[in-house]
């Protein structure tokens, strides 16, 4: 622990957020700015016979209207990850057009853009656009989409598969092990579709300046540089150095703002056509309809055990919806971010997963907090818990039996899984031990027994998880199909007065980077926290960046900054040595100054900075200035882990689930700011609880979304959640300079199965083995009633 690292420093950025001074894209008003509204398909699948814009063009304030018939209809946004069919064939990759051309393939797909002087005028005119549709049959369920005769999303292919994929050991070998297993637990369920629901809806402003032939795109994205690359090189084919992408403050992303959306490219195209800036901000309905959704796996899975409860084999078949088009990272989510986690924390010797990823007549599905890993954890933790109960074993005990033994990745090698990944370091038993202790596990069973006698239904559910974070090594992700590298850039610019500006390619949209990163810099340089400023979210300020997702900012972006700090200190030492008339080897750096060992002769960081910029008396051959940039490409992912425990009470009359307690013990490696890590865990846990108990996107059989507002899509509220009790163990990451692992997704990954396990535990004695998520009162009540009958 340093002066700042490891301390719960209050977040610097919160002053801005809490006083309404944040700068979100929708807050920006440019001179001459126009506003856009979209005409959207009311059908999930339809032929467009005709679009008549004549009336709309006459409406007051209308500047322009474009449809798929205009030049923009020739452009589409790309997919950033390629997953090929098992037989080696290239995945099917339809163009995702900026505006629908001839056919609409999901409810809410944009058919026309109306640009007007004011937002109201744009909306009014959009209502005047007449579209003649011929409705066609639709399919929204990924399993149904693969049935013979299902409506085709893209006519050019004989079925709806975008690709199929498998990972792990030979399927026949796994099946044989299951046949010979002492006990096999089988579950069939749906990991339901979720809407991301960031508090700030997506918002974009595109501004073309003809004099400079330059574009500026203000966007609520999690990764401005990546958007610039995809937009310029793949969507529109415009020169990258002529486009500046800016995303100042962003109000939550959860993955949904990673992707390059059609509106970003369309607005960038359209601003040049009309020669004026254009703003579009989604309303909540548009967010439900057009933000990429998460999850939507239809799963059948089996776990085999020996007599002692050791897992002998795991087999799963999944249908994972892609939606109508392939969103930026969509193919990676149910594959390389999902199947690769099937080892969990367990020594399972044989694993096989088969995935079929069909197109469906729905909005595209892509990463949503945890992205593939919550789905993997849900599968493992529901199976092992159910297996234990079916065999009459204790659910905690069975986990201890199956844990991979501890390894630190330094003295012991990393753990090679059956599913490609090699874990960096892990010590799994202590997190579960600690969580059980916090929960009072031993006493709880007695309490549960007593409560039952009084007609009260209490349940406890455990979940342990591992996740792959710090989405990175470029060579690895490249081999897995990523079309981009995944490193991070970080620049340390020491100003002449010794104040420090940090330019990072990571992007903060709630994570608190401005505080956490500053803590690292201030500690490593021995300067005051307020002497450090973190700058992000502007492609013309930071050198480059891959943005923030997959809990990667600190592990990858933080490490890039550390590398630059090392370079600053190395050069600084040369200047200090010159000033102190000593050899570099004889200097020590501590508390913001270089000291000649064994003397009181020293020179401060500020003095050295000034000398670097006023190099009158300066080391020969050394360049002036103190400014270093680094790119950090890590050696591996990082692998945080943890144990979550939920305690619930189920109302026997109404089926309502009340969460009594929620306990976490996570290991995210070294912790820079405990308060921020707790905050990340809290938010993540609540999102996971949302999936378990409340949330779910529902499309009806015609592809109409019937959960498209907060009347029908239930988000967790404060009174749905108890105080979350958190603790941690620390197993440092052996391969990055900070020893950090990432904490952004842990909560979401661990919590969902813990809650469902707890509810099933409360009802197990009634013969209930599974309830489909979300576990609403109606579903729980139905399950209890069916069990009675």
């Amino acid at each position: 622990m340093g002066k700042f690292i490891g301390k719960s420093i209050k977040r610097k950025e919160d002053v801005r957020f809490l006083t309404g001074k944040g700068k979100y894209t929708d807050d920006i008003k440019l001179p001459g700015m126009t506003h856009a509204a979209f005409v959207r398909s009311p059908y999930a699948h339809a032929k467009i016979n005709n679009i008549n814009t004549a009336e709309a063009l006459k409406a007051e304030g209308v500047v322009a209207i474009f449809t798929g018939q205009d030049e923009c209809g020739n452009y589409g946004v790309p997919c950033g990850w390629q997953v090929n069919f098992k037989n080696g064939e290239t995945m099917r990759e339809p163009q995702q057009p900026l505006l629908a051309k001839g056919v609409v393939r999901y409810l809410g797909e944009a058919v026309a853009i109306v640009i007007a002087e004011t937002l109201e005028q744009a909306r009014d005119a959009a209502e005047l656009v007449e579209v003649d549709y011929e409705e066609l049959p639709a399919v929204t369920n990924p399993k149904e989409a693969m049935k013979e005769g299902a409506p085709l999303v893209h006519d050019e292919w004989p079925d709806n598969a975008a690709f199929d994929w498998c990972i792990g050991n030979d399927r026949a070998e796994v099946e044989k092990a299951l046949e010979n297993a002492h006990h096999v637990t089988e579950l069939e369920y749906v990991n339901q579709r979720l809407a991301p629901n960031a508090i700030e809806p997506r918002s974009y402003i595109a501004d073309y300046n003809a004099a400079d032939d330059k574009w500026t795109l203000y966007t609520s994205t999690q990764n401005p540089h990546l958007i610039r690359l995809l937009l310029c090189a793949f969507a529109l084919g415009i020169p990258e150095h002529k486009v500046r992408v800016v995303s100042y403050d962003v109000g939550g992303g959860f993955g949904s703002k990673i992707f390059h959306y059609t509106q970003e490219a369309l607005l960038t195209w359209a601003t040049k056509q009309i020669g004026r800036p254009i703003k579009w901000t989604a309303d909540r309905s548009e967010a439900f309809l057009t933000d990429a959704h998460g999850r939507d796996h239809v799963v059948k899975a089996k776990m085999g055990f020996d007599k002692e409860g050791k897992i002998v084999a795991l087999l799963a078949d999944e249908y994972c919806a892609m939606g109508a088009y392939l969103s930026t990272f969509a193919p990676a989510i149910p594959t390389y971010l999902h199947g690769t986690l099937f080892q969990g924390l367990y020594t399972t010797p044989l694993i096989h997963l088969d995935v079929t990823a069909p197109f469906t007549h729905t909005v595209p599905v892509d990463a949503y907090r945890g992205a593939g890993r919550p789905e993997a954890t849900y599968l493992l933790e529901r199976l092992i818990e159910t297996g234990a109960k079916e065999m009459g074993m204790d659910p905690a005990e069975i986990r201890f039996k199956n844990f991979i033994p501890p390894f630190d990745g330094v003295n012991q090698p990393g753990y090679q899984t059956q599913v490609a990944l090699q874990y960096d370091s892990g010590n799994y038993a202590p997190v579960l031990k600690r969580a059980l202790e916090m929960a009072g596990y031993e006493d709880f069973r007695k309490e549960q027994e007593e409560a039952r006698k009084q007609g009260k239904l209490l349940g406890i559910g455990i979940s342990t998880y591992i996740e792959a974070c710090g989405i990175a090594p470029s060579a690895v992700v490249g081999a897995l199909g990523a079309r981009a590298g995944l490193y991070e850039a970080g620049e340390v610019r020491v100003q002449p007065t010794g104040k420090v500006s940090i330019y990072t390619g990571a992007h903060a949209h709630g994570q608190g980077h401005e505080t956490t990163f500053a803590q690292i810099v201030a500690d490593k340089l021995g300067i005051a926290l307020e002497d450090v400023e973190i700058i992000h979210g502007d492609s013309e300020r930071s050198a480059f960046g891959m943005g923030t997702y997959g809990s990667r900012s600190l592990a990858v972006g933080g490490s890039a900054i550390v590398k630059s700090i090392e370079k600053v200190l190395e050069k600084g030492a040369k200047i200090a040595a010159h000033k102190l008339e000593a050899a570099v080897e004889d200097l020590d750096y501590a508390d913001g100054k270089w000291t000649v060992k064994g003397t009181d002769k020293s020179v401060s960081f500020g003095d050295v900075a000034l000398t670097a910029y006023v190099p009158h008396d300066y080391p020969e051959g050394l360049e002036p200035g103190l400014d270093f940039s680094s790119f950090y490409d890590p050696a591996n992912f990082t692998y945080p882990f943890g144990a979550h425990i939920a305690i619930v009470e189920v109302c026997p009359d109404t089926g309502k689930v009340t969460l009594k307690r929620f306990i976490t013990c996570d290991d995210v490696g070294n912790v820079i700011n405990p308060m921020i890590v707790d905050g990340q865990v809290h938010g993540g846990v609540v999102q996971g609880i949302g999936q378990a108990l409340l949330e779910g996107v529902v499309y009806d059989e015609n592809g109409q979304m019937i959960s498209g507002s907060y009347m029908d899509y239930a988000m967790p509220r404060a009174d749905d959640v108890p105080m979350i009790e958190t603790d941690r163990t620390v197993t440092p990451c052996p391969h990055n300079p900070l020893g950090v692992k990432g904490a952004g997704e842990a909560g979401t990954i661990g919590s969902t199965p813990a809650v469902v396990n707890a509810v099933v535990d409360a009802l197990w004695h009634l013969g209930i083995r599974d309830i489909p998520m979300p576990l609403t009162p109606a579903r729980v009540w139905e399950a209890m009633n069916a069990a009675k009958a």
Partner: protein, 146 residues
């Protein structure tokens, strides 16, 4: 979506039949209706305004009366479009004589709705249909009594 219901009218089936098939009456008694234009016998163009919870919209489209068995039953086919979504419905109407002066009107059908109407209104639509039918039949009763 299934639509079913019934309503008791204080009039014999012949009287009910005659009124229900009269476009001038329909224009008067249908809730929210703004205009009704006869395109051909039993084939109309209708414009109406309907409010459903948070959504409100002007509907335009056609409706057709089919499979008529005089004084007994018919089928109403509705195809209405609006900016807030479209509705496509087929409703079977049956007139059951209860006494010399009373008729039970029984209706059953299927409706397909789309767009914002489906997204926002799904949960409310059953109630709205009930309210509107009640208003319709009460107005019909009044019309017959006049």
């Amino acid at each position: 979506m299934k639509i079913t219901g019934e309503h008791l009218i204080e009039a014999p089936p012949e009287k009910v039949w005659q009124n229900i098939l009269d476009p001038r009456v329909l224009e008067k008694i249908t809730p929210g209706i703004k205009s009704l234009e006869e395109l051909a016998p039993d084939h109309y163009k209708a414009v109406s305004e309907i409010k459903m919870g948070p959504v409100k919209g002007q509907f335009e489209g056609e409706f057709t009366i089919k499979d008529k068995t005089e004084n007994k039953s018919c089928k109403i086919v509705l195809d209405q479009k609006s900016k807030i979504g479209n509705a496509l419905a087929e409703i079977n109407l049956e007139l059951i004589p209860v006494s010399d002066t009373q008729t039970k009107v029984h209706y059953t059908g299927d409706a397909r709705i789309s767009g914002m109407l489906a997204r926002m209104g799904q949960r409310l639509i059953g109630g709205v249909v009930k309210t509107l039918s009640k208003q319709f039949f009460e107005a019909l009763q009044k019309e017959i009594e006049q």
